[in-house]
Symmetry: C2
């Protein structure tokens, strides 16, 4: 393990993407999203992704100098074509456009096609907060999840992020996958030789499995809810809604056609859309209510939930975003701990690029 | 059990609400939403609610002749005050307003306060379909659900419904609670003397329980995901987002302050808002893409998921809305089966009202 200050890590990652040919602004943006994931304790979407991005670029599957453009537009909506760039570039452009539209019309909604992995969903939803807006962000992803009653891997872990401003309290920031577990956590269990708990994965015939590597042998991750009895059809619904808004709406690839975000898996030749997709929204608070009144009520919401009685053995009840915000504040001071493999990959990529 | 034709049931329920003083249009609307729940096999939101509504009205807690009005408005948004009517009246008005706004501006978003139970969430989202729009509907509800790590009942089973038009295929209609189970299903287990499966409820100290009546003794329903390990914090996030959009945004009561929708529980004297709340959205397909292209792609989405390989022991993979639509088609012909208690309650209410 190695401790790295956020600023140093940002510089190193930024240099890597500069060396790949990204503009200074684009490289800084990509680095910011990746470091932010580390700070917020979501390392599965952080620095460990750099090598995947590099390999994809090396394989000619990622445009490092994309020129995203608006291809369809109304007063409150737009579709952005990401020009096959890293998701952060069209992602931030699309969220800024949603905010701009909300300034004029109350709300703004922008879908993105022809994009790639965009990092942590909350990065985009949180952009709305400083404008006194509610921010919404979602994306589809590599198909690893089987719908309820099926063995076919048709959905990604498709996350939804919603950021809501408060008054004196810090904002409400929910950012969650539509599955019980992320791919990265299964990989960690596999590496440690641990069994996966029941309710995370199924085998090739759809039966429950505790093998964390089962998805490399025809198995699948199950939707949030784990099984039909406990509501996995509800997790399936949520993942499907996110897939359709993110991909069918802008003309990106949905479900099983999402281009793999790793170089060792090939895109499907029959993919009907362009790249993968995202969906962003911004709603001005004062399009519904006086912001002061709303924020006072949001503070009361947050305090009511924070003051809830903890269950036996628990110390506190969390508001969505508490854990990530506290992590960010602490790691910004203390630095980010990276494991050996991630450090080696980063150095290897830097070596390849001679930066 | 008694078999009733949908038309007869509609007439009887409509007459009951007419006798309570509702206008002909309002009574028909209420009856339509309730019968639709029966047809779609969601009886927990159907005819069995009539007695609850009657008791609430008798207790002076429900305005049977509400005049909902728009209290805040922009080009794409509005807040409707439901005048303490049954949720169907402001619900349909708000969804129609969202559709109207979407016609002009691409999207429309309407939040409702000072309302009551509105029946099945999908009723409203499906109103968007005939306009080639995506429809969204959500509501908060009586607090029965404890956030992850807590024993306090702070959230309802808060459902989300999203309806998306297709081309040759029937539309995608997801309508699901943010909990593994509905209150009504627990009551049925209790009546039958059955244990509840693990992962549905917890006891007063927050420990897992299999007692279906535990929520009458300080227990709570858990969020979708069942426990922290399986992602109950994600179900908590979803329920919280629905609570905030439905209630904090329009100035309704959130979480624990939602007025009970049964007459034997009293509203809290410290309730900070007005009634309970809903949130509706409509997005024009052509605000993002050519509708023909979108519908062709939606058909492909639906066929891809319908043609997925079933798990061992399963016959087919469902598209959200399949089960409810097939039920509606069948029960429309065959009639709706009502149990003895529901029939007796209905006759008792009709007798009280002499209709």
């Amino acid at each position: 393990m190695e401790l790295r200050l956020a600023k140093d890590l940002f510089d190193q990652i930024s240099n890597i993407f500069r060396a790949m040919g990204a503009s200074e602004g684009a490289a800084a943006l990509i680095a910011d999203v990746l470091v932010r994931a580390e700070l917020r304790s979501i390392p599965s979407h952080g620095v460990m992704r750099v090598k995947d991005y590099y390999d994809l670029w090396k394989a000619g599957r990622l445009n490092i100098t994309p020129k995203p453009e608006v291809v369809h537009e109304t007063l409150t909506t737009a579709v952005v074509d990401g020009d096959n760039g890293m998701g952060m570039i069209p992602g931030v452009m699309a969220m800024e456009l949603a905010i701009e539209k909300a300034k004029h019309a109350g709300t703004g909604w922008v879908a993105v096609r022809n994009s790639n992995h965009y990092g942590i969903a909350a990065y985009y939803s949180m952009m709305a907060l400083e404008h006194d807006m509610i921010g919404i962000s979602m994306t589809n992803a590599n198909p690893l999840v089987a719908p309820t009653f099926s063995v076919s891997r048709l959905l990604g872990t498709n996350p939804l992020a919603v950021a809501i401003p408060a008054g004196e309290e810090p904002p409400f920031v929910a950012d969650f996958a539509s599955t019980p577990i992320a791919r990265g956590k299964l990989a960690m269990m596999e590496k440690k030789g641990e069994d996966a708990p029941h309710g995370f994965v199924q085998d090739a015939s759809g039966l429950p499995s505790t093998d964390p590597a089962i998805i490399t042998r025809g198995g699948a991750i199950v939707p949030l809810g784990s099984d039909r009895e406990h509501g996995s059809h509800k997790g399936y619904c949520l993942g499907a809604i996110i897939d359709i808004l993110s991909a069918v709406l802008p003309g990106a690839n949905f479900g099983p056609f999402v281009p793999p975000q790793v170089s060792y898996l090939q895109p499907r030749p029959d993919a009907p859309g362009k790249g993968l997709g995202h969906f962003f929204g911004a709603m001005r608070i004062d399009a519904f209510q006086q912001p002061e009144d709303f924020k006072r009520m949001m503070d009361l919401w947050i305090r009511t939930f924070r003051d809830a009685t903890p269950a036996t053995g628990q110390e506190r009840v969390y508001i969505p975003g508490d854990i990530e915000r506290e992590s960010e504040e602490r790691l910004m001071r203390e630095g980010v701990l990276l494991n050996e493999k991630v450090m080696q990959d980063l150095q290897w990529v830097a070596g390849e690029l001679m930066c």
